[in-house]
């Protein structure tokens, strides 16, 4: 059965005891220096202290370092990895620099999360390392991967939360301020982005590492877990931009669902004050093929 892992939000440089007390099997500590996370990430010094506290509670500790690594980051990256590699249980990465450094002695701690790039059973079988599947897959496609890949024990999935759909190195909000010659948008502040002809409000935030856009809804996979939970190693509940109290309820509901698969529990989720959507679970995105009619 899947283990629940929850993004641990670190606020005001204090241990968030409520997260340590949740029913999650593991907590994801987002690296301030090396993750894309925008909603309470840990600087290294605090992260190291917090790892011990997570372990004291008997929980799995996963460090998230999922941003793109640049050449100038390399020396600090190695220092950073040397500090955490023996301390954390797992490490989420998207950049091959991290894989390169840890593959020899810490292969079993690595979890690959390139957000979009793992979308077939053949890719899973090829990369071999424990991976998160892309969230832009249909239920049918996920089932096919789980039924046919050789390494089902090494697959995890983000089942709940606002899902990151764009990651740019550009400070897009601050550049807009420069363009209109007025400071109306701030870094590390969450805004909604609305395309002029559409109604959805996509979440957008700029941090020191770039600008991120998230789904306008909370992605949710729930009832499918009755079938899939024996195949996913971890299911991730992403707490980005969601109030702690709600996340704790969500965590409780998922934990209970994994123990009894009671359909009534979905109603509990639906009562939460969030806009839910199943993303691509019920539809498939297009592969465009064929001739071009452009000149």
């Amino acid at each position: 059965m899947s283990l629940i892992i929850l993004d641990y939000k670190y606020k005001k440089r204090k241990t968030n005891k409520e997260y340590l007390s949740t029913k999650a099997d593991g907590l994801i500590l987002n690296s301030l220096e090396f993750s894309c996370f925008n909603d309470g990430a840990f600087p290294l010094k605090e992260l190291l202290k917090e790892i011990d506290k997570v372990h004291e509670k008997g929980k799995i500790c996963i460090v998230n370092m999922d941003r793109i690594i640049e050449e100038n980051d390399i020396d600090f990256l190695i220092f950073y990895l040397d500090n955490i590699k023996n301390r954390c249980d797992y490490l989420i990465y998207s950049d091959m620099a991290i894989y390169s450094y840890l593959k020899k002695d810490y292969f079993n701690k690595l979890i690959y999360d390139p957000k979009t790039l793992v979308a077939s059973k053949e890719e899973v079988n090829t990369i071999k390392v424990h991976s998160f599947l892309s969230n832009e897959l249909s239920e049918k496609e996920i089932k096919f991967i789980l039924d046919n890949c050789q390494t089902t024990q090494n697959i995890s999935f983000e089942v709940f939360g606002y899902h990151q759909i764009m990651y740019s190195k550009r400070p897009l909000l601050n550049l807009y301020n420069v363009f209109i010659e007025k400071e109306v948008l701030k870094s590390n502040k969450l805004y909604d982005l609305k395309e002029e002809l559409r109604e959805d409000l996509y979440k957008i935030i700029e941090s020191d590492n770039g600008t991120y856009i998230y789904t306008p809804y909370v992605y949710i996979m729930f009832k499918e877990l009755k079938e899939f939970s024996s195949r996913f190693k971890f299911i991730r509940l992403n707490s980005t931009f969601i109030d702690d109290d709600i996340m704790f309820k969500v965590c409780d509901i998922y934990k209970e669902y994994l123990s009894n698969y009671s359909d009534n529990l979905k109603e509990e989720i639906d009562k939460l004050p969030l806009r839910f959507n199943r993303g691509f679970l019920d539809k498939e995105s297009f592969l465009l093929k064929g001739d071009n009619e452009d000149a």
């Binding site: 077939s120 890719e123 740019s168 190195k169 550009r170 805004y191 600008t211």
Partner: protein, 400 residues
Amino acid sequence: MLNKVELLAPAGNLEKLKIAYLYGADAVYVGGKSFSLRARASNFSLEDIKEASRFAKSLGKKLYITMNIVPHDSDLTGLEEYLRALEEFNVDGIIVSSRYIAKKALEVAPKLERHLSTQASCANSMAVNEYFDLGFSRVVLARENSIESIKKIVEKAKAEIEVFIHGGMCVAYSGRCMLSNHLTNRDANRGGCAHSCRWNYDIYFHNKKINKKEYLNIGSKDLNGLDFIKDLMEAGVKSLKIEGRMKSIYYIACIVRMYRMLIDRYYESDAPLSEDEYQYFNQEILKAENRLTGCGFLKGNISINEQLYNTRTENPTKDFLGIVLDYDEKSEMVTLEQRNYFEKGDEVEFFGPSLKNTKFKLESISDKDNNEIDVARHPLEIIKFKVPFKLNKNDMMRKY
């Protein structure tokens, strides 16, 4: 003398491919009808690829096939046969982001070089060397790298390094943008990018609209690497890549020819460009560009000069008037295929792979039956007129 570098050009069909080679590309990359992004870029059938490869080999040049989709399982049908065919046709390499496609290529078509696509957003030497160990002989770096980073990466890299120097830019790390999927259901990683980053957006805070007059635009200007070519050559970058498989033959001819001349200029002398030289190269780019350009991340951090704001980004140029089909030296008569409207009395400019920009006034023009006419208004119409200097097939005529 500076390092030899490959000038790598895009092509959306056989005509564009031949123009790219003739105008100075050392190598061309094209997409097949399967496994390639830019799905609308007139992708090549296997027969086209066979002919393209034959043409490339006849010139001693290289051909790469883009297979850079992030595949779902249903996309992989026919992969082995496709790879075998590419090898059989003497294609030089494939550009891929999927580790599975690369692995399968190594198994069934080992002569194909495997180049890692920019979709993998590779931005450091450790990652480059890891991909090299996984069988990639070349890595196309993320377009987010500065010239300083590129220099450091090349120094440590085991793989050849390829860098984009001109053309379209993603606002996001390539491969890390799902805007198109979510706004239009078209998968950007499978050839369907709707360029949603170039659309107009309003921005809200707690349901209150913040922008007043100006939309929040997040799109990027195209890349123009003119200022960085010498540095890239000095750094030891193996391949300089032009983006734009969907661009016209005129664009490809102008841009490839300009970079060919610039690279050759640096082969002859590594002295900095004079002001006149710089202006000349810059003007040549402007003659072809229909979109605004900036230097991307090459100089370091992005400024508003690299961003698009409240601008309609496509302004199709009508500068391209025709392409030379034939020239008879004895009669000095050129036969030209019309591409845009022109008329008797217009001042035009001819240029070509071995022809410097040469101004000319159209004193008299005739149709294919030698009947004198005043205007050439029909696309692809055959037009004839006398020109007192030698032209070659595939030279082009544009507005002066």
